[in-house]
């Protein structure tokens, strides 16, 4: 495995990304882990469209490709889960800003996935045009606040 060339992921990178996603967002209840859910493709697609996200993805993949433990195991996917986590933690420490941007992208793609939204009880479509129901304002709640004398500072 070599550092990502030309900003595009190789097939090996894609396999690595699936494992990374599984470590970042593991299975819960009846939901698979994020990699197993097939989100790697969407993440790569989104990153291609935005320089900042692309840079973050490539930086993380580059760092993984240079990780010594991963080298010894023939790549990140060859590591056991505990070592994979340690490797990701090390990368998080060493390139914190890039990793944070990458993590934010991963979280955002994950929480746009319909099955994830269903599990957490959130609307599965866009927030418009339906919106949400909120009771109209009831002036009765102002009963105490209205009792206070004006206290704005006079200027003359």
């Amino acid at each position: 495995m070599s550092p990502v060339e030309g900003g595009r992921l190789t097939d090996a990178d894609r396999t690595t990304l699936v494992s990374v996603l599984d470590r970042l967002l593991p299975a819960v209840d009846d939901l698979s882990a994020a990699g197993e859910m097939g989100l790697a493709q969407e993440i790569e697609k989104r990153a291609r469209r935005n320089p900042r996200l692309r840079s973050a993805l490539i930086s993380v993949m580059d760092a993984l490709s240079l990780d010594l433990a991963a080298h010894a195991a023939g790549g990140f996917v060859g590591l056991d889960p505990e070592t994979q986590i340690e490797s990701l933690q090390e990368i998080e420490r060493s390139i914190r800003d890039k990793f944070t941007t990458f993590l934010q992208m991963v979280y955002t793609v994950y929480y746009t996935e319909k099955s994830v939204l269903q599990r957490i009880g959130w609307t599965t479509g866009p927030v418009q045009p339906d919106g949400f129901d909120v009771d109209p304002f009831d002036e009765a709640i102002l009963e105490n606040a209205r009792q206070r004398e004006p206290f704005w500072r006079k200027t003359d």
């Binding site: 470590r23 970042l24 967002l25 593991p26 819960v28 989104r46 469209r49 935005n50 320089p51 900042r52 996200l53 986590i85 990701l88 944070t100 993590l103 934010q104 992208m105 979280y107 955002t108 793609v109 994950y110 929480y111 746009t112 994830v116 939204l117 957490i120 959130w122 479509g125 866009p126 927030v127 418009q128 045009p129 339906d130 919106g131 949400f132 129901d133 909120v134 009771d135 109209p136 304002f137 002036e139 709640i141 102002l142 105490n144 606040a145 209205r146 206070r148 004398e149 004006p150 206290f151 704005w152 500072r153 006079k154 200027t155």
Partner: protein, 557 residues
């Protein structure tokens, strides 16, 4: 860039920027028969295209709909070198400007804000009073549409609001409990968000949440749907995707118009009898500094040397309370619940002057929560799902909006290296948070904790200074009576050039501790009123035919 060509018609008034203040001026002057042309570097963004109608809206918030132009990087944006600032300036370039992106929380400044030197011995008094501005606040409320309720004891009495307040939501009611237990002031926010239908085909808020990404039902006021349709109907010409390169002047230093790059990259010139700058507190000083000439060697109207100085933000601290039960805190506009001004005025017992407001804020969608909300991202790995469940929909926040006093070393200048997509110099921001502001924010954080705990929060998360909080850009071409200590007079008219007016946040002498847009728009309307009353010689004979340019151009985008 190709050679310059001259636009045919001489405008009575040329406005640079179609945002909050430029739109207000365009409407007022076109209403009074002035021949108005506006150049805007952004484009029309149609409400039907807002991303809240797309499933991936939370991702778009990270990319092409980000608040920060350095992140968004649209062709119409310009980069800002903010490496020497703990706060990033935010803005949006489009018809409507940053009102496309704002939450439309619209309190007014207080009378004391206009007299800080007299009252507290700091900064400077304004050359006008709150009550001079009051009728223009009222007019702006009517044009934009204000939800709220009169009777707030923290403010002078004001005219009836156009609409009742927005619903508080379960989260809002929860926090009201906290304030009431402490006996502290709270009051429903004035918001330019419709609680019931108001204006031209504008519906009521349906509490979708992220109104900072634009409002598809037009409940949130932005000037592309409030002022601009009326201005265009009056004959104002609005040219989009036109990036101004400099304000031009004659040998005497009098403004003659503006040179700009049109949508095809052609260099053109629009002649005008007067120029109104409305390009925000970063964009306006940038343009003035780019407009050097023999008559204005330090930049347009800069004999005082104060163009670009005294930059003020409203530094924000955010304090989020987490409650044990779900408050469904994604329901409703994020920043339009209520506010508290318990600590707005100077308290001599404290170690700082001036004060702060609390703007109560909600959570947002699930990705926003996972990304950390106001804090760092939630943990990844085995602990993620539990952490998410403990916070999502359970948080309500208090934004501490602090007054930020003007200091000359906080500046907007032209960057020596960074350029925009047209190879024009980008602005550079140098800003330091002063001790008074830090103390004020810390006091706000401590009192916010008390409120949240009184309301029953089980955890309190603090962001002591929000980097991505530079929504309010003020002070960089300040108003005053002394030409050596200010850039414009009380009417927004440049001391050095009597046919140049500035109407954006640049002119604010101080910033108060409230969201400034209603004040900026009221000042803009007051300047327009002055032009109508005192500068009638600028007005041409009325044009027999309304120019269809703006309408067709807008419809095409």
């Amino acid at each position: 860039m190709t050679q310059s060509s001259q636009d045919d018609q001489i405008a009575d008034v040329l406005i640079i920027g179609a945002g909050a203040s430029g739109a207000a001026v365009a409407w007022k002057l076109s209403e009074e028969g002035f021949n108005v042309v506006c150049l805007e570097q952004g484009r029309w963004v149609r409400p039907e295209n807002y991303v809240t109608g797309d499933a991936d809206w939370e991702l778009r918030q990270l990319t092409d709909w980000a608040f920060d132009p350095n992140v968004r990087q649209r062709p119409e944006d310009y980069p800002v070198n903010d490496k020497n600032s703990p706060i990033s300036p935010l803005m949006f370039n489009a018809v409507g400007g940053s009102t496309i992106h704002w939450t439309a929380h619209t309190p007014r400044m207080h009378p004391s804000d206009f007299r800080v030197k007299s009252l507290d011995g700091v900064a400077d008094d304004w050359p006008l009073t709150y009550f001079d501005l009051e009728p223009f606040y009222d007019l702006n409320d009517e044009m934009m549409g204000c939800s709220g309720i009169s009777g707030d004891p923290a403010n002078p009495p004001r005219s009836p609001r156009q609409m009742p307040p927005l619903g508080l939501g379960e989260d809002g009611k929860k926090l009201v409990d906290g304030f009431e237990k402490l006996g502290w002031h709270w009051w429903p926010s004035d918001s330019y968000v419709n609680s019931v239908p108001y204006g031209d085909n504008r519906g009521a808020c349906n509490y979708c949440g992220p109104n900072g990404l634009g409002c598809k039902v037009k409940a949130k006021a932005s000037t592309d749907i409030t002022y601009w349709p009326h201005a265009i109907e009056n004959g104002a010409k609005l040219r989009t995707r036109c990036r101004v390169t400099q304000i031009t002047v004659d040998d005497e230093g009098v403004a003659t118009g503006a040179e700009y790059l049109d949508r095809n990259g052609r260099l053109r010139h629009q002649a005008a009898k007067s120029v109104v700058l409305a390009a925000n507190g970063v964009g306006t000083p940038r343009l003035m500094l780019m407009s050097k000439s023999d008559a204005h060697p330090e930049g347009l109207a800069n004999s005082s040397g104060l163009v670009g100085k005294n930059l003020m933000f409203h530094p924000y601290a955010l304090v989020m309370g987490v409650f044990p039960e779900s408050l469904e805190s994604w329901k409703g506009p994020q920043g339009n619940i209520f506010m508290s001004q318990e600590f707005y005025e100077t308290d001599p017992r404290k170690d700082f002057v001036r004060g702060y407001s609390y703007q109560i804020i909600r959570g947002s969608g699930p990705a926003w929560q996972a990304r950390g909300g106001i804090d760092k991202p939630l943990p990844w790995g085995e602990g993620h799902h539990e952490a998410f469940a403990s916070k999502f929909g359970k948080g309500i926040g208090m934004a501490v909006i602090s007054e930020d006093l003007p200091e000359e070393h906080n500046t907007v200048t032209l960057d020596d290296h960074l350029v925009d997509g047209s190879n024009l110099p980008a602005p550079k921001v140098d800003y330091t948070l002063n001790t008074n502001t830090r103390r004020l924010l810390d006091d706000g954080i401590e009192n916010a904790r008390k409120v949240l705990e009184a309301a029953g929060a089980i955890d309190v998360i603090v962001n002591p200074l929000l980097r991505s909080g530079g929504w309010h850009l003020m002070g960089t071409a300040r108003m005053g009576v002394d030409p050596e200590a200010s850039v414009v007079n009380e009417w927004g008219q440049a001391h050095d050039v009597d046919n140049v007016f500035i109407v954006d946040g640049s002119v604010l002498v101080t910033g108060g501790a409230v969201n400034p847009t209603p004040t900026i728009q009221a000042l803009a309307l007051r300047t327009a009123d002055y032009i109508v009353r005192e500068r009638s010689e600028l007005k041409s004979e009325p044009s027999p035919e309304p120019n269809p340019e703006s309408i067709t151009e807008g419809a095409a985008e």
